[in-house]
Symmetry: C2
């Protein structure tokens, strides 16, 4: 891998740090972490999502009940304005990262006919 | 997302297209595609991988027979020099993309790794 390609990646990294989306995400994340009830609710939410994700990755069955529990938790955290703001900021950052990833892996898509 | 960030991503994309790893991958992929027996074996291998991945993602059971079929296919493709070369080229390209991804998503790791 040429040094050049690494250099370019670091330039993108720096661009992300300076982006409006990252600034907003950082702000919302720090706000949630600074508020005890928001932080606790966020961590609980994350634990549930982690368990589901782990099941999905390891091929374990996710029950209808678990999906419903997760959806209820999502509904609950969404009602907390600080967490709702953080999730919105995460989603916006995520869209940017998805766009960047789509652009960067385009050469493989061209070669294989599918996203790299 | 600033236009600048997109521009940077396109610069990385262009850098990948010009990299030694991509040139080698393209060469090996085209060699396999040009050889009927290699192409068939490679497509068969990819189909099996995709089927297993899909099952894994959707939480379906993977049968013993399927695992065996996958192993045999891996063994067979590793014996075929053209496919073996392609898989090596894929692995090298994959390492580069993994490095780039790790660099680019570092800002998020920094944010969530602190107190998350």
């Amino acid at each position: 891998m040429s040094v050049n390609l690494y250099d370019l990646a670091y330039t993108v990294e720096n661009g992300i740090r300076q982006s409006a989306e990252y600034a907003e995400l950082k702000k919302q994340y720090e706000a949630v972490m600074a508020d005890e009830s928001a932080r606790t609710m966020f961590h609980n939410f994350r634990d549930i999502q982690l368990k589901l994700q782990e099941k999905q990755m390891t091929g374990q069955e996710i029950t209808e009940e678990e999906v419903q529990q997760a959806q209820k938790t999502v509904a609950l955290v969404q009602q907390h304005e600080m967490i709702s703001n953080l999730m919105e900021a995460e989603q916006r950052m995520s869209v940017v990262l998805g766009d960047l990833n789509r652009i960067i892996t385009k050469p493989l898509e061209d070669l294989y006919g599918t996203q790299g």
